[in-house]
């Protein structure tokens, strides 16, 4: 007697591969968008952010950090779960940065729109990765980090100066790029390595 679940998995594979490929394309597209966002953000913040050799101080964001060097050594599913978690936290941070930029650079609606789209894109990519994880049988962590990250950014915003707010925004945009890029790499391995 045939296993009906096996049949469904067989028919599901093409759709999963397409979904993985689509998610990978999205991650690759967002990688470019993240680079453009970072450039645009730096351009809009004025000196010294655009000056060569400027090295902003590294501030800590509660609930979200950059990918660790050991990220590559983790299993792919684990990495994807970390990616999904980070992408889940980034929209709130990007929205917080957009609100700050609305106050700091009200005459830069394009940046605000880019930040808004970046938040939506991060949310879409996170949802796509979670879908892939779900399809692969792995559960995502859930939206926990988003709340903590937003809290951390708002705390930092209240305590820091305008410069510190710009630096935090720069750091969020940077993190967005790092995680999108990391996700694209992880999905690339999934695409080239196959679902199995």
């Amino acid at each position: 007697m045939e296993d009906p679940q096996a049949d469904s998995s067989i028919s599901f594979l093409p759709h999963l591969e397409a979904k993985i490929r689509q998610t990978h394309n999205l991650a690759r597209l967002l990688t470019k968008y993240a680079e453009q966002l970072l450039e645009e953000y730096v351009q809009q913040q004025g000196d010294p952010f655009g000056m060569p050799g400027f090295s902003p101080p590294r501030l800590s964001l509660a609930g979200l950090s950059g990918p660790s060097p050991s990220h590559a050594g983790l299993p792919l599913s684990e990495r994807l779960r970390l990616d999904a978690a980070a992408l889940g936290a980034l929209p709130a941070l990007l929205d917080a940065v957009r609100r700050h930029q609305a106050e700091l650079n009200p005459r830069s609606p394009r940046l605000q729109r880019s930040l808004e789209e970046a938040a939506r894109q991060a949310r879409a990519l996170g949802a796509a990765v979670e879908t892939v994880l779900a399809a692969l049988g792995s559960a995502a962590r859930g939206p926990g980090p988003e709340h903590s990250a937003t809290t951390a950014l708002s705390t930092a915003n209240s305590a820091a100066s305008i410069f510190s707010a710009k630096v935090l925004g720069l750091q969020v945009c940077g993190l967005y790029g790092e995680w999108v890029n990391r996700t694209e790499g992880d999905l690339s391995q999934l695409v080239h390595g196959g679902v199995a």
């Binding site: 689509q22 597209l29 789209e117 879409a124």
Partner: protein
């Protein structure tokens, strides 16, 4: 203070007015439903409820309600009174989109007052939107289209809804009902679900949701910065470079064409499937300008092709001319014995064959078995002086890359006789060009030279020409040809030994109606026909081949007659025509494309044909002349008779001899006067035979006497004694009659004289006294006088005169001069003009008259009456002969005799009737 008072008064007035209006505008009832919307075609019921206070105020109830739609009362069949305050109205099959429904009451039973009104709308619930599709124009937001279905006739809201599985997007409300552009940028590679909701007063529906990845609905921005570059190494390639928008992987679609072409050449899509921003197009023509354009689509083909990019052009690099120029020559006709001038001509190479810019042409002229001369020419002709010998000319074009092959042309000696022309040469328009076809001669042809020029009377034939290969037998004329121009096309085959004979043909690129019509004129106009002639139209006015002429002619009141005439004719005879009629003639010339009328010409046909008048007048004149001549001849021949009848000599009674004689007075003493009487010599003896009408047959005695007379006449012929008849009837004129009777009478008259015995009265008057005239003649008596029986017979006849009218009698000077004075006068005047011959005659008559004047007895008179009759017959005209011969024919004589009257010749020596 006063101002305040006025203000308070106004405020109070306004307050009171407002209160009253508030009470007035309060309706006496309501219509339910208050804002009805009805589905079209369905039934609808409305009710009107009156307020109690209005019932009492206006003394009405629900039965007083009058429903109106669009100011027209609703039939009572549709109205129902529910109770004393409520009335309902029902409409079936609502079709009008908008109906103004009012509830009215007849206050006090007759005054119609509006209670309430509302607008009833009808329409349809929205259909489910179908065919929902979205397009993402790169750089813009997503735009979705759908089909809303049938018209609802109601205000319907369409809302485009979109969402991710994890997020909903803002609704897009359509203003047009068929499309809507979302307010957010689509995110590629994330599926989105989109659907449309439609809602109006009659319902709300949603379309089927579509789920798609926006990246598969993208229409990209066209490629930009397209540039074209050539390669010096390869004259057949051009390299394209461009930029694509976005970050997506795109495939391209490249098209190109030559600059002057209108159709595009497609680069195979397989060659541009992979994403790229450059491409090299191969197999292009050297030194040719090409135009390129590109569009893109997502690599997998999903989505929409972008619009075409802006066009970019580039020119391939030069190559050496691929063909030699067309080469021909013309010999100057005015050459001398030793040399001749030749004009070598050639055509510029077309760009497709020049493969670059032609720098110059190299011409090598080689005389037969002699040295060569090289020429470098920048233009397209070379004039050289040649001897009469055979030459070979070669031509090559040169550009920056190299030199073309050479075109060789043989120029034969001046004594060369061309031959072998093409046959069946035809030229006709085709595809808006002139096509020339011919049949090649039997001899192998190296090439053909086709020359053509416009035939015109105003300008010389300036030929253009082109060259065709030796295997070609049909071609189109290359050059700017004009419509309505006659082209003379000449085809010359060129053999290895030289050019052959030429053949020519005429052709039009496109014919048109002639510019003007022929001018017609009359060459000859006859009574019933006219010969028209005209000149051939000049070739500049023909505008085509004249196929035929039409001649329209008409009179001022007649119908127009149209005659078609072949184009080869230049004259035509109109026939039949009416004489003496004005004709208007107009002539038109026709080509294949129409005709053109010439000026109208008028002519008038003559009343008579040429020579007709002469044909009438001449015969008439000839007939008249002939008649006149015959009349003259006749008159000449019968002049005596005519004279005798028309103007006879009337004797003058005053000279009458007997007038001087009296029975009581012996006349002897008058004898001496004879000479005096006759001395005038003018005497014409006219005897009259008067035959009175007699219905009876002639008496046998008369016939007997007539026979006797005839016998006497015969016997007279036998005698030469000269004894003749009475001087009264004998004519002294020599006889012009040829009969013997005349001769007999003549002889007798010239020899016998008798006296006259008046036997009876003149004109039936019986003389009361017998008058005797004694003859003094010494001549012997006639036979009758010697025969008493004859005389007796005459007496018997005379004795019967009293009972029967005389049958005939002979009477000298029978008429009375008084009875015809005119005639006597006329005669007298004529007597003066009588000629000598007549005088001679008259002389004899005088002699006769002298004898007659002698007295004689009654018997003698009888005989005498018959005697002169014979003499008169002999000396008279034929008419007299006829008259005499008809004596015995009583029927002919009955009418003539009583009327017959001839004036007597009265002369001296005659007698006057008593």
């Amino acid at each position: 203070m006063s101002t305040l008072r006025i203000w308070l008064t106004q405020a109070l007035f306004i307050f009171l007015i407002t209160e009253s209006i508030g009470q007035l505008v309060e309706p006496c009832g309501y219509i339910y439903p208050e804002f009805p919307v009805v589905q079209r075609g369905s039934n609808f019921t409305a009710i009107c409820v009156l307020k109690e206070k209005c019932l009492q105020q206006y003394y009405v109830n629900a039965s007083y309600i009058v429903w109106k739609t669009n100011h027209v009362a609703v039939p009572k069949e549709q109205v129902t009174v529910i109770n004393r305050t409520t009335s309902s109205v029902t409409f079936t099959d609502m079709v009008l989109q908008t109906v103004q429904l009012t509830c009215n009451v007849l206050s006090f039973g007759q005054i119609e007052q509006n209670v309430y009104g509302t607008t009833v709308l009808s329409g349809f619930p929205p259909d489910i939107p179908t065919n929902l599709s979205c397009i993402v124009n790169e750089g813009k937001n997503m735009l979705c289209h759908w089909d809303p279905g049938r018209e609802t006739y109601l205000e319907t809201n369409y809302t485009l809804k979109s969402e991710w599985p994890t997020e909903k997007f803002a609704d897009c409300h359509s203003k047009h009902g068929t499309s809507c552009m979302v307010s957010f940028s689509p995110i590629y590679f994330v599926n989105i679900e989109v659907w449309v909701e439609a809602e109006n007063a009659l319902g709300k529906v949603s379309s089927e949701a579509i789920n798609f990845d926006p990246v598969d609905k993208v229409k990209h921005i066209p490629p930009y910065n397209l540039s074209v570059s050539n390669s010096e190494e390869l004259s057949s390639i051009l390299k394209l470079t461009w930029n694509n928008s976005g970050t997506l992987r795109l495939k391209s679609d490249i098209q190109y064409r030559t600059k002057d072409a209108s159709t595009w050449i497609q680069v195979p899509l397989e060659d541009t499937e992979s994403p790229r921003t450059s491409f090299t197009v191969q197999d292009l023509k050297p030194f040719t300008e090409y135009v390129f354009r590109i569009r893109t689509i997502k690599e997998d083909g999903k989505g929409y092709w972008s619009d075409w990019s802006e066009e970019a052009s580039g020119i391939t690099y030069e190559d050496r001319p691929s063909k030699p120029p067309s080469f021909w020559y013309k010999i100057n006709p005015s050459h001398t014995q030793e040399s001749r001038s030749a004009r070598l001509i050639w055509k510029e190479l077309p760009l497709s064959e020049a493969n670059g810019k032609i720098l110059d042409y190299e011409v090598i002229l080689t005389q037969w078995k002699s040295f060569s001369q090289n020429y470098t020419v920048n233009g397209t002709e070379l004039i050289v002086n040649l001897t009469n010998n055979h030459y070979i000319a070669s031509l090559a074009a040169r550009n920056v890359v190299g030199k073309s092959d050479t075109a060789v042309l043989t120029i034969p000696s001046s004594h060369f006789k061309a031959s072998h022309p093409v046959v069946d040469l035809k030229a006709f328009p085709k595809d808006n060009k002139l096509r020339v076809e011919w049949t090649a001669p039997h001899k192998p042809v190296k090439k053909y030279i086709i020359e053509w020029c416009v035939l015109s009377d105003n300008s010389p034939c300036v030929p253009d020409w082109q060259q065709e290969g030796g295997s070609v037998t049909q071609t189109y004329l290359r050059g700017s040809l004009l419509e309505s121009k006659c082209y003379l096309i000449t085809v010359t085959p060129v053999f290895t030994s030289g050019p052959g004979s030429s053949e020519s043909v005429k052709a039009y690129l496109k014919q048109a109606a002639p510019s003007r019509g022929p001018t017609v004129r009359t060459k000859k106009v006859g009574k019933n026909e006219a010969v028209l002639e005209w000149d051939q139209l000049p070739v500049d006015d023909q505008n085509g081949f004249i196929r035929n002429y039409s001649i329209s002619y008409r009179t001022s009141i007649g119908n127009e007659i149209v005659v078609n005439v072949d184009s080869s004719h230049t004259e035509y005879t109109l026939s039949p025509l009416s004489s003496d009629t004005l004709y208007m003639v107009r002539m038109a010339a026709y080509t294949d494309e129409g005709g053109k009328d010439g000026p109208e010409f008028t002519f008038t046909t003559p009343k008579f044909a040429q020579g007709e008048i002469e044909a009438i007048v001449v015969p008439v004149c000839l007939a008249f002349l002939l008649t006149t001549l015959l009349g003259v001849l006749f008159c000449f021949n019968k002049r005596d008779l005519i004279k005798k009848h028309i103007w006879p000599n009337v004797p003058d009674p005053s000279k009458s001899h007997i007038a001087q004689w009296s029975p009581h007075t012996p006349p002897r003493h008058n004898f001496n006067s004879k000479d005096q009487m006759y001395s005038d010599g003018n005497f014409t003896d006219v005897s009259v035979v008067e035959i009175e009408a007699n219905n009876k047959k002639p008496c046998p005695d008369d016939l007997k006497s007539l026979d006797l007379f005839k016998k006497e006449k015969i016997s007279t012929e036998g005698h030469s004694s000269g004894i003749g008849g009475s001087s009264c009837m004998s004519s002294s004129r020599p006889s012009i009659s040829s009969n013997e009777e005349n001769e007999s009478a003549q002889n007798t008259a010239s020899t016998v004289q008798y006296s006259t015995v008046v036997h009876s009265g003149y004109r039936h008057q019986v003389p009361s006294v017998q008058v005797f005239s004694r003859s003094e003649s010494t001549q012997p008596l006639l036979d009758s006088e010697e025969r008493p029986e004859d005389l007796q017979l005459a007496d018997n006849v005379d004795s019967s005169d009293e009972i029967l009218p005389r049958q005939q009698y002979f009477k000298q000077n029978c008429s009375q001069p008084e009875a015809n004075p005119d005639i006597s006068h006329f005669e007298r005047s004529n007597q003066v003009s009588s000629g000598s011959e007549e005088d001679f005659v008259r002389l004899k008559q005088q002699q006769v008259s002298d004898h007659i004047s002698q007295p004689c007895g009654s018997e003698q008179q009888r005989l005498f009456e018959e005697g002169p009759a014979t003499g008169a017959l002999g000396a008279g005209t034929d008419g007299q002969v006829e008259q005499f011969e008809s004596v015995g024919m009583e029927t002919a004589m009955d009418e003539e005799i009583p009327k017959s009257y001839l004036p007597q010749t009265v002369r001296q020596g005659g007698y006057m009737p008593q």
